[in-house]
């Protein structure tokens, strides 16, 4: 039996008028086939105009609190294990993304919780001192009044197989009342369309305010047809992929790129005593295992300070032990030959280092579904082959790490830090200057909190235009009011 599911969300387009292409995930009886839409440029343009119009007529007439309530209702449905949409997601996402089913279930739960009403309000409060500016003119501190307008049409180009990731930017787009059209990531083409359908069910007037499309990377003329209609384009992916999008945009289109990132962790000697070291290693292992290090916030390397009761090498051993434990609970997905080759290459390099560098060690045999490469000497930041390959590097002082990561500022985002409070703030200052934009605790690296500033940006503020009524206009208007009194003084 094959499992076939249709992806995307195309209001106003009849399914039979659209061409569909099949993307296959996995092999054998568990294979999932996802049909993705291939639109003509004309269809794309018509869709874009429809979404823009509906957003103006419907979405922009709702208050931001009403939008929060609608999203909250949709998220509540997805958090309900009995809901058919949730069941569809849970049924197909493991095969599509390749992640363990239990990992997907737990991951979805903790991810979706960040989109409930209280968290969404916090999200708004993070960017807007007074979120009512999204609804109407509000007094500005400097005088006059100010109101925030989202783009009429916001296009999202999503990437990656981390389940449900498109939700971040899609919800941002909704909160600023934009008409939203998202391009499905080929690696996880299911969730965004499913969410759009659910949203239309929860609040039918929104049905035409968003659309979910697809095109083959670097292909055809449908993408430019969409970009030509957009006010703002958000793109995720490799520098190359993001650059491809940028080149297709009219110069007046606002462009917000989110490139690939490289996460790392730091463990201070304060966290390296007999009780705390194993606990920290357990949390670090969770960060490694969750989404197989495919997230922008996933760690590829832990810098561990010498001088604690537990040494860096022992920490590496604890980490190895925890990875072995987690393999029993969340087995690593079956690897494609290319992934296996990438891991083998990384392992070989680590193995050769053990022959060349004193003290270097590779933990985890060829048959283990994880590997820890330990280095006794400082190493610059570098990605691993992911899929539970992690480096542990001993450093004299955590301050030494700054110079090791700074050359890669463009790729920095999340640092997981286990340290005492004074150290935490000092290191965060140094790392912030070096390019890091998010400091999280080990164990929380892959679960950014609601309202986080993705890559150090303002998720909502970056999307809006502030429209100001200056005091002069307000004062001048006073004179033209029917009830204006001439100053007879």
């Amino acid at each position: 039996m094959t499992n076939r599911v249709r992806a995307g969300y195309l209001p106003g387009l009849a399914e039979q008028d659209v061409q569909w292409q099949v993307l296959a995930f996995g092999e054998g009886p568990g294979q999932v086939q996802v049909e993705v839409p291939v639109l003509t440029p004309d269809q794309m343009q018509a869709l874009a105009r429809r979404v823009r119009r509906s957003a103006r007529d419907v979405l922009q007439r709702l208050t931001v609190s009403q939008i929060v309530a609608i999203v909250d209702a949709a998220i509540a449905r997805l958090l309900d294990p009995a809901d058919p949409h949730r069941q569809e997601a849970q049924r197909f996402l493991p095969a599509i993304s390749g992640y363990d089913a239990e990992m997907v279930r737990l991951g979805l739960g903790s991810f979706l919780k960040a989109f409930r009403a209280p968290q969404l309000h916090r999200f708004l409060a993070e960017d807007f001192a007074n979120p009512k500016v999204l609804d109407e003119f509000q007094p500005a501190a400097k005088g006059g009044a100010v109101r925030a307008f989202g783009p009429g049409l916001l296009v999202h180009v999503w990437a990656g197989n981390v389940p449900a990731l498109p939700l971040w930017s899609l919800v941002c787009g909704l909160l600023v009342k934009a008409g939203n059209i998202g391009k499905l990531p080929s690696a996880e083409p299911l969730f965004a369309g499913l969410f759009a359908r659910l949203l239309a069910q929860v609040h039918p007037p929104l049905a035409d305010c968003l659309a979910i499309v697809w095109w083959r990377g670097g292909d055809g003329s449908a993408a430019p047809a969409l970009f030509a209609e957009a006010d703002t384009v958000l793109a995720y992916g490799s520098n190359h992929a993001v650059d491809q999008v940028r080149r297709q945009l009219p110069v007046t289109t606002r462009f917000l790129p989110y490139g690939h990132k490289l996460g790392f962790g730091m463990v201070s000697r304060a966290a390296l005593d007999a009780q705390r070291a194993p606990a920290t290693a357990r949390l670090a292992a969770h960060d490694v295992v969750r989404y197989e290090q495919q997230g922008c916030y996933s760690p590829h390397l832990f810098y561990v300070e010498r001088g604690g009761r537990v040494g860096p090498r022992e920490f590496a051993q604890y980490l190895a032990g925890e990875l072995a434990n987690l393999q029993r609970r969340f087995p690593r997905r079956a690897l494609a030959l290319e992934d296996a080759q990438a891991i083998a290459g990384w392992r070989q390099a680590a193995e050769l280092r053990t022959l060349a560098a004193p003290g270097a060690e590779l933990l985890g045999g060829a048959d283990a579904a994880w590997a820890v490469s330990y280095s006794d000497e400082p190493q610059p930041l570098a990605p691993t082959a992911a899929n539970r390959c992690i480096q542990v590097v001993a450093v004299e002082r955590l301050d030494d790490v700054v110079a090791l990561v700074e050359p890669h500022a463009a790729f920095l985002q999340t640092a997981g830090i286990a340290a005492d409070p004074a150290e935490l703030f000092r290191l965060a200052g140094l790392l912030g200057r070096a390019g890091v934009t998010r400091v999280a605790a080990p164990g929380s690296m892959t679960a950014p909190e609601a309202g986080w500033h993705h890559d150090g940006r303002f998720n909502l503020l970056d999307l809006v235009r502030m429209v100001e009524i200056e005091q002069s206009a307000e004062r001048a208007a006073e004179r033209f009011a029917p009830y204006a009194q001439e100053d007879l003084g």
Binding site: Q294, L337, A344, G345, A349, L355
Partner: protein, 362 residues
């Protein structure tokens, strides 16, 4: 006994082995084990590599048991049974994938390498012809003294090239006018002609000919040898397109377009019997054997499944006989299909992939 004392007898046996018509499985194993013992005894980094895998001459019973050294080992380790300073030649990889670090294969002298080349080339490419006029689309040996391909092509020209054979890649790049003249001459004379070179040079040459509006019908018996693949260096073309284009540009039927698969890290080459159908079946001479493995476990994959190629090349007597490549293949009766290099796994998520990182760091 140091390697310089043991080597002459070993080299002599090897040359005799290569000169044979073929060999039994047992004879191959016997020679492979003798070489393994030699390399284990005389190359310290290799011995440590084997220790890491628990492989000693006592435990290794067949060529399949010899630990396969990843080709990166040629970058990071000195894999030579004699001090490199005493070696007549060192062939180096072009080092495109890992910055400045190049893989190195040391050769005390080229007697075995050349012997391995000669008989194999005569059978698989010359196919009985004693000499043929050659156009080489690659720099000559003095220009690239550390390139095993430059040596291969220079030696081919020396041993099998008829009068008028020449190199057409020099300091100024590909000499399209020179090749054009040689090809026209061959057309007029009716004498068979052979074009040999890197696959990407053929792509450049065909681009040049196309813009000049030229194509040729080389005389019967003409042939083409390409090697090295064309990904990354040149336009991305698929195998079918490439051999169709060769046939159209030079009038050489696809079954006479032969692809050679060789590596700096080896001392022997594989060939196919033409590329009428792609991917073509590759096979080597009796002194090299290959198997397909799971890159992580090193275990052989089921016949017909994709795996990574491991080669055991007995002519590689001074470095290591058995190497783990990064090439994907499938075993078939009589050889294997070469499916190309295992592409670095693409980033599936939004975490930075190694390839992109290296590109940014370069």
């Amino acid at each position: 006994m140091d390697a310089s004392q043991s080597a002459p007898a070993l080299v002599e046996s090897l040359l005799a082995f290569i000169a044979q018509d073929g060999c039994s499985d047992d004879a191959f194993d016997a020679m492979a084990l003798r070489l393994f013992a030699h390399q284990h005894a005389h190359n310290e980094p290799f011995r440590r590599f084997c220790q890491g895998r628990g492989a000693t001459p006592r435990q290794v019973r067949s060529w399949r048991d010899i630990p396969a050294v990843p080709i990166n080992g040629f970058k990071d380790l000195t894999l030579s049974c004699v001090p490199p300073a005493g070696c007549q030649r060192v062939f180096m990889t072009s080092g495109t994938t890992r910055g400045e670090v190049k893989g190195r294969n040391w050769h005390p002298d080229l007697a075995v390498w050349n012997a391995s080349f000669r008989g194999n080339f005569a059978r698989r490419f010359m196919q009985g012809a004693p000499r043929i006029r050659m156009g080489i689309l690659f720099p000559d040996e003095p220009a690239m003294p550390n390139s095993s391909l430059a040596h291969y092509l220079q030696y081919a020209l020396q041993e099998f090239g008829a009068a008028g054979s020449a190199h057409y890649v020099g300091a100024n790049g590909l000499d399209v006018a020179g090749v054009t003249e040689a090809l026209s001459g061959a057309e007029r004379s009716g004498e068979p002609f052979a074009l040999l070179g890197a696959s990407y040079s053929f792509v450049h040459l065909m681009d040049g000919l196309r813009s000049a509006g030229r194509s040729f019908r080389l005389p019967p018996g003409s042939r083409i040898l390409d090697t090295g693949g064309y990904k990354k260096q040149s336009r991305d073309v698929d195998f079918d397109e490439f051999y169709d284009a060769l046939a159209a540009a030079f009038g050489v039927p696809r079954e006479r377009c032969i692809n050679m698969y060789g590596m700096t890290e080896l001392s022997s080459q594989f060939y196919d019997d033409g590329n009428a159908v792609v991917p073509s079946l590759k096979s080597g001479p009796h002194w090299i054997r290959s198997r397909l493995v799971d890159p992580l476990t090193g275990l052989q994959v089921a016949k017909g499944e994709r795996g990574i190629l491991v080669h055991c090349d007995l002519a590689n007597y001074n470095s290591v006989t058995t190497i783990l490549t990064e090439d994907v293949g499938v075993e078939r009766d009589g050889g294997f299909l070469l499916l190309g290099r295992a592409q670095g796994a693409q980033a599936k998520g939004c975490s930075l992939a190694v390839e992109e990182f290296l590109k940014a760091a370069a």
